[in-house]
Amino acid sequence: MSATPVLALRGVSKRFGAVQALTDVELEVHAGEVVALVGDNGAGKSTLVKTIAGVHPVDEGVIEWEGRPVHINRPQDAQGLGIATVYQDLALCDNLDVVGNLYLGRELLRYGSLDEVTMEKRSRELLNTLSIRIPSVRIPIASLSGGQRQVVAIARALIGEPKVVILDEPTAALGVEQTAQVLDLVERLRERRLGVILISHNMADVTAVADTVHVLRLGKNNGAFPVKGTTNEQIIAAITGATDNAVTRRLARNAEATQ
């Protein structure tokens, strides 16, 4: 694993009016690492993702990209750096077809006009390599099922050749086979040396593919665990707040000592 994390959050805080959504959150993602972000409802996972993706700029703290501090104030900033985000609510345009959605915001041009042929060809190739089956790449998103929309949304994140991919509950709406496909896909992303931030409620998914598990609780870090050597119970204890503080402190100390 490389020494410099591709993306690092240092002491990030975010407040919405009277609500302190995030307090001094730390997070590191290395190239080729799958970081799972877990926490109870309202723990701040989605807010954290949105600060990284540029939807909500951070109030305090620093975001570092490949070791340099950067400002991410707009979604375009995050895209420009190479951060792709797949939101829980997918955010696809129902009226556009699959190709239109995959390339939305980064359309390929030919003599100044849209190069539909190349976009369609590459879309088919991409969907094939991800073994995604949909009726047609020219069908409007409105006609697809929830699972099909999820895989289209993930495929969409990969079009721009990002370095970090954020997946917000990617398997929540999927069946067994499609969940397995998404998890395979996550591993393929790791093989391609991408950093992956995976938000999930599903411990089986997390332990199956993640390298590190970061727990958020009430907008604060509540422990970071390497998946190897950590039991589900320890993680769930950290999520629910039933943590034996001594254990987490020792883990944190050990982690510091090894670094």
């Binding site: 979604p75 955010a91 009226n95 359309e107 369609e120 047609s136 086979e177 599903n202």
Partner: protein, 427 residues
């Protein structure tokens, strides 16, 4: 259910790679004529009506009026319809852009009236070159639209209210410009000469209409064939040659019949030529450029558009500016019909006719669905009704009621097709 199953899996056991069979629910279009039929039926059931209702309506309207008055389908009357639909049609083109965002611009008629007054006072009162005055007038329209867009996109005032305020305000400005005289006579020169009632393509030459028809048909055929060969070499599905030929022949029949009918009288009015050229350009912008794609994206889902890095506020401002620009151009067209700028310009039912044209043509009021050709189809319907009722010496009161009923019918079709699309999972 599925989540539970995943949860119960032993963690260290890798699930066996499932051999996925072909999903039987996949829609695969069958080959041949039967394939087209089933596809057509599926679209109809799903509420994707396209231009079908408006073409049906046009056939019915033309049949009724022809039965009532045999002059209706005469060449001279068709030239009339084609000439008079261009002005309001320009307003409708601008409205299509706004409707694609799912918004409305209620100021277009009043801006068109103001544009005529601005043009008249520039070219007549201030003696500015007629072409320069045209450019300045259109820029005025664009600026007015941009102001509407700014208040809508940046301040967050609903577009309906902003443009309603504009509707009143710009009418006031027009009356102020024409204060005293009440009307200004515009000279028959520059662009306004081209827009006049006696200005025809290639000076009424018989060849003119056929050249236009050939250009349109040729462009469709060549464009389709190039697209087909590119798609074939890229290995993606392409339109079979038979389908391309059927489409080309269909357009050719319409185009050459239209050319023949118009030629029997005086030929193609230049106003119609400009209108058609505008439609071709706008269609290209909407379907083949990133800007057009962004408009559809904002109309489909604002959140998705924003997350894709689209500057939603900028798109909104530009679209309202386009609407204002087309309103000004439409105002010049309407002024060219009488060579006057009057206090009555842009009043009456002009706004309703323009909105009706866009919606009747098949552009959805709910945003994200439609095309600029709906301005042409819708205007054909509206102008046919108006001209037909004029021929029958119907009172304007009857015209208002009938046009209102047609607008309501169009919106009903739009709403019902949207509901059908929802229930079959397509909206």
């Amino acid at each position: 259910m599925s989540d539970k199953t995943t949860m119960r899996q032993p963690l260290d056991e890798v699930p066996p790679p499932a051999v996925a069979p072909l999903d039987p629910r996949l829609l695969v279009r069958e080959e041949g004529l039967k394939g087209y039929l089933t596809e057509f039926k599926r679209k109809l059931k799903g509420g994707e009506l396209g231009s079908l209702p408006v073409i049906l309506a046009l056939v019915i309207i033309w049949t009724i009026f022809q039965l009532k008055d045999s002059l209706f389908l005469s060449s001279a009357n068709m030239v009339n319809i084609c000439y008079f639909m261009a002005g309001t049609g320009m307003l409708a083109v601008g409205l299509v852009f706004v409707l694609l965002l799912g918004e409305i611009d209620l100021s277009v008629a009043s801006v068109s009236g103001l544009a005529a007054a601005v043009f008249a006072s520039l070219s007549v009162t201030h003696n500015i070159n007629a072409w320069v005055a045209v450019v300045l007038t259109v820029l005025t329209g664009i600026a007015i639209g941009a102001i509407h867009g700014f208040f809508f996109a940046k301040i967050g005032v609903p577009a309906f209210v902003v443009t309603l305020a504009g509707f009143l305000g710009w009418t006031g400005l027009m009356q102020w410009l024409l204060r005293g005289t009440g009307s200004l006579t515009i000279q028959d020169k520059g662009l306004l000469h081209v827009l006049g009632q006696r200005s025809f393509f290639m000076n009424q030459s018989i060849a003119g209409a056929y050249i236009l028809a050939t250009l349109g048909v040729g462009a469709l055929l060549v464009g389709s064939l190039i697209d087909q060969s590119r798609r074939r070499s890229a290995g993606v599905p392409f339109r079979p040659t038979g389908e391309i030929l059927v489409r080309t022949v269909a357009l050719a029949v319409v185009a050459y019949v239209a050319a023949y009918v118009l030629n029997k009288s005086a030929g193609v009015p230049n106003a119609l030529v400009i209108f058609l050229a505008t439609l071709v350009i706008c269609d290209f912008v909407l379907r083949r450029t990133t800007f057009g794609r962004k408009i559809f994206a904002v109309g489909g889902s604002i959140e998705a558009a924003r997350r894709a890095g689209i500057n939603v506020a900028m798109i909104r401002i530009v679209v309202f500016a386009i609407s204002g620009g087309f309103a000004a151009i439409g105002g010049l067209f309407l002024a060219g019909q009488t060579y006057t700028a009057t206090l009555q310009a842009g009043t009456g039912n002009l706004l309703m006719l323009a909105i009706a044209a866009a919606v009747i043509g098949g552009t959805s009021l709910f945003g994200g669905r439609g095309n600029v050709w709906s301005a042409l189809l819708g205007m054909l319907v509206i102008q046919s009704i108006q001209t037909g009722l004029d021929l029958l010496n119907m009172d304007q009161s009857i015209q208002y009621m009938i046009t209102g009923a047609v607008l309501l019918a169009a919106v009903v079709v739009d709403s019902v097709s949207r509901r059908t699309q929802r229930s079959s999972g397509r909206a």
